[in-house]
């Protein structure tokens, strides 16, 4: 079966210190060659800390940022990079900050109408019917349509953001930290709504978050990013329970959990992106690092079953 979303060696680098003429002063590789597949109807969770390239990846997938090289395929067809509207009908984005992703000077109706009119050419009664249907799907009352974004709480604004993304009738939703700006009691409401919609509309999700527990709760598979590379991937129930990459283990140990003493207080920071290390980017923080790790970048390969890790010395379960 063709996967809903497939990337092949997708990369992105940024030029630092652009000059009017001549080459830039330096290049930073935000996303190193990255290949993965998401089967239809599944959720791929992506975790990583700030600076790991997860937002760059998300913006490339929805066509807001052209990749430096590599391919994106949706349902078996390679995507045309020139036309954001072509992306728009297949893949949509739900933003982290629900309030700033809504134009403060437009009513909710104007905001929801935009994708319906521009991507699907709807108007008249069909448009009104579709808006009512969308609002019903995200449990919002129709009288909200004539209001402005600042009148809504974070949870309501995020529902509006989800309704706008669904308006394009996409096959895939990229959820970029969709609940990190929300309070926990509201966060669960939005997560449950997303789960319901996925089943009802047969959607495929890419769920990006820094909150390990949230990702684990909503994902089928999880991919861990570090310094622009995929370091581990596997089924959600295994990745944090039996991590194979030392970085995944550090992440899992650092998450504050009720009934566990403070741990993972290991020092160390990300390498300098302008001067990336020769070998594994995690080697300087890794207790298992050997000479090999400082020399050669490890490839992502099967460790056991369907669990992959990019590590020369993966952990035993």
């Amino acid at each position: 079966m063709t996967p809903a979303l497939k990337t092949t060696d997708l990369t992105r680098s940024f030029d630092i210190g652009k000059r009017l003429f001549g080459p830039p002063r330096a290049r930073v590789h935000a996303v190193n060659p990255m290949s993965f597949e998401v089967p239809t109807g599944e959720t791929l969770g992506i975790v990583g800390e700030s600076g790991c390239g997860k937002s760059t990846l998300a913006r490339m997938l929805v066509g807001l940022l052209p990749p430096t090289s590599g391919q994106i395929e949706i349902e078996g067809r390679a995507l045309d990079r020139a036309d954001p509207a072509a992306f728009g009908r297949l893949i949509q984005y739900v933003f982290q900050d629900p309030v700033s992703s809504l134009n403060p000077r437009k009513t909710i109706r104007q905001i929801i109408e935009a994708p319906l009119r521009n991507l699907h050419g709807m108007h008249g009664p069909a448009l009104d019917a579709r808006i009512a249907e969308l609002f019903d799907a995200v449990n919002l009352r129709p009288e909200f349509l004539s209001r402005y974004p600042h009148e809504f709480s974070g949870g309501q604004a995020q529902r509006i953001g989800i309704a706008r993304a669904l308006a394009a009738s996409p096959r895939i939703l990229i959820l970029d930290e969709p609940v990190s700006a929300l309070d926990v009691s509201v966060q669960a409401q939005v997560l449950n709504l997303l789960a319901e919609l996925k089943v009802k509309l047969n959607l495929t999700y890419l769920f990006i978050s820094h909150d390990l527990a949230v990702v684990e709760a909503v994902s089928d598979r999880i991919a861990v990013l570090y310094f622009g590379s995929l370091v581990e991937s596997g089924p959600a129930e295994k990745v944090f329970a039996t991590p194979r990459h030392p970085y995944t283990k550090l992440l899992a140990d650092s998450a504050p959990v009720v009934g566990r003493p403070l741990g993972g207080a290991q020092s160390g920071e990300l390498p300098d992106p302008l001067n990336p290390p020769l070998g594994c980017a995690f080697a300087t923080r890794c207790p298992r690092a050997s000479d090999l790790c400082k020399r050669a970048i490890p490839e992502l390969r099967v460790v056991e079953g369907d669990q992959f890790a990019a590590c020369h010395h993966p952990l035993a379960p």
Binding site: G88, P104, P115, S185, L251, V257
Partner: protein, 620 residues
């Protein structure tokens, strides 16, 4: 609109400006139908008549023309030219600014360098050059003044547009299939209109002056046509013998420009959302106190808060952010204060040292006792001597609490020397020691770094070092790890825990994360709607929550290692603290709520383990 007018007239000077300008504009509009002499009718026999002479209220000029009539017609012309120039400069400048700011890159570079070249000329020289090329005349003067003012608008609007072009709703519009032109017109422009209006309202006065200047030099309106500048220019020769011919147009220019500027400032303040909330006035050095009487202490402890009430008074609304909160912090203890946004946890913490911004914050009741001494209503000098020395704060975002232009070492030295009269060298030595204490590698070298050169985790370590600078007894940490990554958060939490044990610090730790509370805090208090709903030893509260809110909030938090699952949610929203229901604030969202829950005040029951509920989950 009525809100705008109310805000405008709150500023008395702006109101005055509006009235004066309004009068002038009305008179200028009515000029053609007023019973005036024709402005250009000469009568050399009556030249230089003094004001209040028969038939000529303001006298006559050197050709015997009626000054009042010329003044009215001149004002009409000057105002029209000034407004037109502002409109043209505003529209063209804003268009250039929007395009440069939105497209960025090379477009931006080329356009803005062009604008920079325009700005490199002294404005009056540039205007003179333009008029010299186009030839004298009022319309050409208008063109010159407009062109000279384009850079001001272009640069201003470009800056605003750059900020908007990177907002998420622009990305959303692109994903909705909109092209650049539509995004510019329907998404960007509506957001910059207020800025253009503000910029115009503050520059019209200036443009009227510039036009008058060109006319004064004889490059604007041509005789016999009157405008304020040319009237001044013609009167210059008779300045000593007939001063009234200069004074009359001079006073009018003064009145117009002054009223336009006063009104413009008022419009700016009324339209600016930051100033609208009343932030126009700088917050006071300590929170305002309006308290009837200090309640008697209910116990001891290093820090004891009794029935604290902090409110925000915004217009007619009263937000009860903190509603009779009582807490006790013992030496060496870590107390967690947990709650969702708007629950009042940060305001409680800021009230301790009187740091709640006033206006609109007011402490309306309760007592805060540090070693038995009441801090509410204490003189500012006392609060200032205690801030940082006895009670120090660590905030969420160290990037915004550290000064961006000073090296972190110098900021630490300053913090030390504020409270202790030590030499610079001694303070420097101690600053390095502090940085080592918070485990910053290469402390001596890092002390020379600026805040933006450090990572988030390192900056928060500096924030902690800053709090430790004067060896305080209490640290109030307001979500210190919320902005950090999990691995860095673990490092910072471990550091705080070590410091508290090695130095015997008491910590009031504010957070929304139960995992963090469980790992760090001895006791925990849960806040909801400005009140404490439950408090007790952390393990007991987390293992067997007594308040339904605590229980269900804990159930909402996914726990690592439990795999894929549906999450429990609490339906509804937290209450707005300006409209709290009587009785239990959680009742509208609570499954167990009965009529008695909504009837009246519910007490916080218990001693070591407290709960504010009529039907607790477990008996505390």
């Amino acid at each position: 609109m009525s809100l705008f007018l109310r805000l405008l007239f709150r500023n008395k000077l702006a109101g005055f400006g509006a009235v004066v300008l309004g009068l002038i504009v009305v008179l200028a509009l009515l000029t053609p139908i007023l019973p005036l002499h024709p402005p250009n009718e000469t009568n050399t026999a009556n030249r230089f008549l003094r004001p209040l002479s028969d038939g000529h209220l303001l006298g006559t000029d050197h050709l015997g023309r009626d000054l009042l009539s010329r003044l009215m017609w001149g004002t009409r012309l000057s105002l029209a030219v000034g407004f037109a120039a502002a409109l043209v400069a505003g529209l063209l400048g804003a268009t250039i600014g929007v395009i440069a700011g939105y497209f960025g890159g090379r477009t931006d570079n080329v356009t803005m360098r062009g604008i920079d070249m325009l700005m490199a000329f002294p404005y009056i020289l540039l205007a003179l050059a333009i008029v010299a090329v186009l030839g004298p005349g009022l319309f050409n003067a208008l063109v010159a003044v407009a062109v000279v003012n384009i850079p001001f608008f272009a640069r201003n609007i470009r800056g605003v547009t750059v900020g908007i072009a990177h907002r998420e709703f622009i990305d959303a519009a692109r994903l909705a299939g909109m092209g650049n032109t539509r995004i510019l017109l329907t998404e960007v422009v509506p957001n910059i209109v207020p800025v253009v209006v503000i910029a115009m309202s503050t520059t019209i006065g200036w443009m009227i002056l510039e036009t008058a200047g060109l006319s004064f030099l004889g490059l604007g309106s041509q005789p016999p046509q009157a405008d304020l500048g040319s009237m001044l220019g013609e009167a210059r020769a008779a300045l000593i013998t007939a001063p009234h011919t200069s004074i009359v147009p001079g006073v009018m220019i003064l009145l117009i420009v002054m009223s336009v500027n006063l009104l413009g400032d008022g419009i700016r303040d009324a339209l600016d959302p930051r100033l609208r909330s009343g932030a126009l006035s700088r917050p006071m050095a300590a929170t305002r106190v309006k308290r009837a009487e200090a309640p008697a202490p209910k116990g001891d402890g290093l820090l004891r808060i009794d029935a604290l009430e902090t409110q925000f008074h915004v217009g007619p609304r009263i937000y009860r952010a903190v509603n009779r909160v009582s807490l006790q912090l013992d030496p060496g203890e870590c107390l967690g204060l947990i709650g969702e946004s708007g629950s009042g946890k940060s305001v409680t913490a800021l009230s301790v040292m009187g740091l709640v911004a006033s206006p609109p914050g007011v402490i309306t009741g309760g007592a805060i006792r540090l070693n038995g001494q009441d801090l509410i209503g204490a003189p500012y000098e006392l609060l200032r001597s205690l801030r940082g020395r006895k009670v120090a704060y660590i905030f969420q975002d160290p990037l915004s609490t550290l000064h961006p232009l000073y090296r972190i070492g110098d900021q630490l030295i300053e913090a030390i020397r504020v409270h202790e009269p030590v030499s610079h060298a001694e303070a420097h030595r101690r600053a390095i020691k502090l940085l080592e204490d918070v485990r910053i590698p290469n402390a001596a070298q890092r002390a020379r770094a600026y805040p933006h050169e450090m990572s988030g985790g390192m900056r928060q370590r500096v924030g902690i070092a800053m709090a430790l600078a004067n060896d305080p007894e209490i640290i109030i940490a307001d979500e210190p790890t919320t902005a950090l990554d999990v691995t860095v958060q673990a490092q910072i939490l471990a550091l705080l825990d070590d410091l508290r044990r090695s130095r015997g610090l008491a910590i009031l730790f504010i957070t929304h994360d139960f995992g963090v509370v469980a790992q760090l805090c001895d006791r925990v208090a849960v806040m909801y709607g400005g009140r404490i709903v439950e408090a007790g030893p952390t393990p007991k509260v987390l293992a067997a929550p007594a308040h339904p809110y605590t229980k269900r909030l804990i159930a909402c938090v996914p726990e690592l290692g439990a795999g894929r699952r549906a999450l429990a949610a609490i339906p509804g929203l937290p209450p707005a603290v300006d409209d709290l229901p009587p009785g239990c604030a959680f009742a509208p969202r609570c499954e167990k709520a009965r009529d008695s829950c909504r009837a009246g005040e519910i007490a916080l029951d218990g001693d070591a383990r407290q709960v504010r509920c009529l039907f607790p989950e477990v008996t505390p």
